[in-house]
Amino acid sequence: MPPNLNADLERKVQERTAELRAAVEDLEHFSYSITHDMRAPLRAMQSFATLLLMKPKGSLAEDEREYLRRIATAAKQMDDLILDALAYSQAVRAAAPLGPVDPAALLRDMLMTYPEFQLAKADIQIADPLPPVVANRAGLTQCFSNLLRNAIKFVAPGVMPKVQVSAEVQAGRVRLWFADNGIGIPPEFHGRLFKMFERASSDHEGTGIGLALVRKVTERMGGQVGVESAPGRGSRFWIELKLAGLPRTES
């Protein structure tokens, strides 16, 4: 290659890199502003509605109370949406170094520390030990917590949620299964489940971002996600990652 062409290419690469860096900085600034400025009015709406609801009984008609509850709920929903959307954009951008992770140990830690995964609220069984996977610890935690939360949330009324986590190893890859006793999902929804803002049920609260986040994070760790499910027969979500070599002592 002639030397001037080479230098030309070098300069172009540098220019593009600078542009990209500026774009990323813009985006960071944008999400920072969203967190700070867009959430404030929602906090105000939610809180003023709550303050009115705290007025003594009799000072508001029942339908007035109901409208206030709806205002508060809607503001809370929008706030959840913003937080989930931010988590998603963070997952897309943040550096996520990969290394060997022991999924069973990670899950055990989560069961101990997350109040909603305690035995009184859900029965979560882990087929210990699980094979080590190539992942990012924070990313995998995000995936597991979303999958477990979904499994616990989507049960028929009065049913104690049960989740079983197991693994399958094939051709150097580990498929981690999360099988639940939930309401199940009709097959026609399976393709849309992992897309942004898609929700299969309107009976349960949600932002429609959780599973999109799981997919995005898993893909960034070189993996894949999927589901097998039918109404009334529970769901079996899976994430598949590379099998890690012999588990080393983690630093």
Binding site: Y32, T35, H36, D37, R39, A40, P41, R43, A44, Q46, S47, F48, T50, L51, M54, D79
Partner: protein, 154 residues
């Protein structure tokens, strides 16, 4: 209980209103001095202009600083506070909308005593106010004004 006033700098008047509500709910009777931008917070502490009237604008025993404010940010106010010898021991709580790691690090380096993400609900806000009352107004020992370091001659 320490009865001096509490300085709260925040440009969001709703948040200021809720904080006043939560403080009253928590049985905090210290006057809450609400300041709506960073430069005004510095002027207040420095006693510039009408703020020199210390009967109306007494020095606080605690400062709550929002980060994103007009004119001067909360971090700039914090840096100014720590550069003043007499405010070396003034407890400062950074009180902001998100646990941004970069902000947390800067606040820590500049000498914030605590970093708190603004509670969203009325109930959580009251709990925060009760915690302030229990810790900063009761257990915490503040340096008496008579023991304040003398300003170094500029």
């Amino acid at each position: 209980m320490n009865g001096d006033c509490i300085l709260y700098a925040d440009d969001d008047i709703n948040d200021a209103f809720f904080m006043q509500y939560a403080f009253t709910d928590a049985g905090i009777f210290n006057r809450l001095q609400i300041i709506t931008d960073g430069q005004a917070a510095i002027n207040y502490l420095a006693g510039v202009g009408s703020f020199s009237d210390r009967l109306r604008y007494p020095l606080p025993c605690l400062a709550l600083l929002d980060l994103k404010m007009p004119r001067k940010t909360g971090l700039e106010v914090l840096a100014w506070i720590r550069a003043q010898p007499r405010f070396c021991c003034l407890p400062v709580i950074v009180f902001t909308a998100s646990a941004n790691p970069a902000d947390m690090e800067k606040a820590g380096r500049l000498g914030a005593n605590s970093f708190v993400v603004k509670p969203i609900s009325v109930a959580e806000r009251s709990e925060f106010a009760r915690a302030i009352r229990a810790f900063w107004l009761n257990f915490h020992c503040s340096l008496p004004a008579s023991a304040w370091p003398v300003e170094s001659a500029a």
